[in-house]
């Protein structure tokens, strides 16, 4: 499959005027897999594809440093390809200027706190049903694990384990939940790795960095951390594709994706909306329906 991928990228350099191919390569310590930016067909052999390809590369699509390299081809797992759909739907990228090379994915391995990969699947991959990428230009690889899902039967990208964890949390009392997040957020250092690694946190200047007026405290205090994490999660309401980049980037190991999953579940349950599954879909929060539920309104 790796060769198939490399050949496809070479072909794109030759025939489609691609300036940079964003893919995975062994770039980190001890050959750890991270993003590589291939700018010449001669370097295509740097590209790898395996079950350690964890990052969501779509985060690079909106970065000026990367855009400066020319027309982009990007390697996307099925979950990551959803982020490309949202970026295009939100007019952050011109989809026709981009070549999305989708790779069939049967699950990514987890990364342990010391940076090494463990044999266990990455949590969100345990029960993933989305192995064949949808809405991509080229599909690399094959699987017996199912077909590309269209918007109608798309599921929220998550796992049984994560859903169970969220269900357990939601079954607690409000005080207990608050205490849980209090412990978690107390470790937050406000490095904004969650924001920076998220393909959909593309704002030029995040509200957290705005100071006229300052919307939330920039301090890594409990007060500031609650405000920040609530803000980050909600700005992704109806937009988060569940790639898990935020939680996996968090140096404090906070399970931020539980917050995003809450909102993704709610979007699906109340509005039948799964982000990134439908090309051209209007953003969930930018639209409304006259018959939206309002049982909570007095």
């Amino acid at each position: 499959m790796e060769n198939e991928l490399r050949n496809a990228i070479r072909e794109l350099f030759a025939n489609q005027g691609v300036g940079v191919a964003i893919g995975y390569g062994r770039v980190g310590v001890d050959g750890a897999v991270g993003a590589v930016f291939v700018t010449s067909p001669d370097d295509v052999d740097q590209l790898v594809w395996n079950n350690e390809c964890r990052q969501n590369l779509a985060v690079h699509l909106t970065r000026p440093e990367v855009k400066a390299l020319g027309k982009i081809a990007i390697v996307c797992k099925p979950c990551d390809a959803r982020a490309v759909v949202v970026l295009a739907n939100e007019a952050q990228i011109k989809r026709e200027d981009l070549v999305v090379v989708g790779v069939v994915c049967e699950g990514i391995r987890n990364v342990k706190p010391d940076g090494s990969t463990s044999d266990k699947d990455y949590p969100k991959c345990e029960t993933c049903v989305q192995h064949v990428p949808a809405n991509v230009d080229v599909v690399i690889g094959e699987t017996s694990k199912g077909e590309a899902l269209d918007a109608k039967n798309a599921e929220v990208a998550t796992t049984a384990g994560h859903q169970a964890k969220l269900a357990k949390l939601r079954a607690m009392s409000a005080e207990e939940r608050f205490q849980y997040w209090r412990d978690e957020f107390s470790r937050c250092v406000r490095c904004y790795a969650c924001r920076q690694s998220c393909p959909l946190c593309y704002c030029n200047r995040c509200v957290a960095d705005k100071n006229r007026p300052a919307r939330i405290d920039t301090s890594a205090s409990l007060k500031g951390n609650f405000a920040w994490n609530i803000l980050r999660a909600f700005h992704l309401a109806g937009r988060c594709v569940g790639c898990g980049a935020c939680a996996s980037a968090c140096p404090a190991g906070i399970e931020l994706d539980l917050l995003n999953l809450t909102l993704a579940n709610a979007a699906k349950e109340h509005f039948g909306f799964v982000a990134g599954t439908e090309v051209g879909a209007a953003p969930l929060i930018g639209t409304y329906d006259r018959d939206d539920k309002e049982e909570f309104i007095r």
Partner: protein, 279 residues
């Protein structure tokens, strides 16, 4: 142990609006003991705060002859702090930390001709040294002041320019980029600062030049000074970089190994050529 991050409360004595978005503020220490012992060197800067809003870095823009009574700074309304600073009135309290940084080598300059080149809001860091040199007029040779702004309305210390011109052996060459509209009084030139500098025929050798302003103005003025015999050691400037602490700790104002807050803000062109292009 002293808290180096805690400012001193200062009383605002006066506020003057210089242009549409520039004000000059005169302050003194609320604590009379502090006021009595305060000393700064011309060219140093301070960090001024509006409590509850934030801090900003400005040059002390007057000479130090009244330092125990008051001193002044100028600011342009561009950000969070300066928008709030715009509203201060005499009697209000603001915070001050400083003075920080190095200063102009005024002793070394004695006996020499002085050329001051400034653009726009960059007048204040030069005003302090002009005031000082005029107060000590006999120590310095010919003084040439080339000052320009985009429009007549953008000139800072406009009235003082005419006062300075009255001193002996002082040339004030003022200019604006854009011709003033009909009816606007203007007795200066309509040209860019480097052009006016070129026409001024200032000569290096026994002279120093102080050039402060927008990067493009500096870039175009330096070759003119070089051609006219100013060596890189004789051309000075006052840099600015974003700072938080002013104490050489917060780690953001450096250009290579030079901390602008401690080793600056005053640099010679020779020093700048040795620094990496990190500003």
């Amino acid at each position: 142990m002293e808290n180096i991050y805690k400012p001193d409360p200062m009383e605002v004595l006066g506020v003057w609006q210089e242009t549409g978005d520039v004000k000059r503020v005169r302050i003194r220490f609320r604590d009379p003991e502090k006021a009595k012992n305060f000393h700064f060197n011309v060219g140093q800067f301070g960090i001024y705060s509006v409590f509850g809003v934030g801090e900003s870095v400005f040059n002390i823009c007057c000479s130090n002859s009244h330092q125990t009574e008051y001193f002044e700074f100028c600011f342009r309304k561009v950000g969070r702090v300066t928008e709030r600073m715009w509203d201060v009135e005499p009697g209000d309290t603001i915070g001050f930390r400083g003075p920080f940084g190095n200063s102009y080598p005024l002793k070394e300059w004695e006996g020499k001709d002085l050329v001051f080149v400034a653009g726009g809001i960059a007048m204040p860091p030069i005003r302090c040294v002009i005031q000082y040199c005029l107060e000590n007029r006999d120590k310095y040779g010919k003084i040439t002041i080339v000052y320009g702004a985009r429009t007549v309305g953008d000139l800072v210390c406009k009235d003082e320019l005419d006062e300075w011109a009255k001193y002996p052996n002082v040339d004030v060459l003022k200019t604006v980029d854009v011709a003033p509209a009909d009816g606007v009084e203007w007795n200066g030139r309509v040209d860019f600062v480097p052009t006016v500098l070129k026409d001024s025929n200032v000569r290096g050798g026994n002279a120093v030049a102080l050039v402060v302003g927008p990067p493009i103005m500096i870039k175009l003025s330096l070759p003119i000074l070089s051609e006219n015999g100013f060596s890189d050691d004789d051309i000075f400037t006052s840099l600015e970089n974003r700072m938080k602490c002013g104490l050489g700790k917060c780690g953001r104002c450096n250009c290579g190994s030079v901390y602008v807050c401690k080793e600056g803000p005053v640099f010679t062109q020779a020093m700048i050529k040795n620094m990496p292009d990190d500003f």
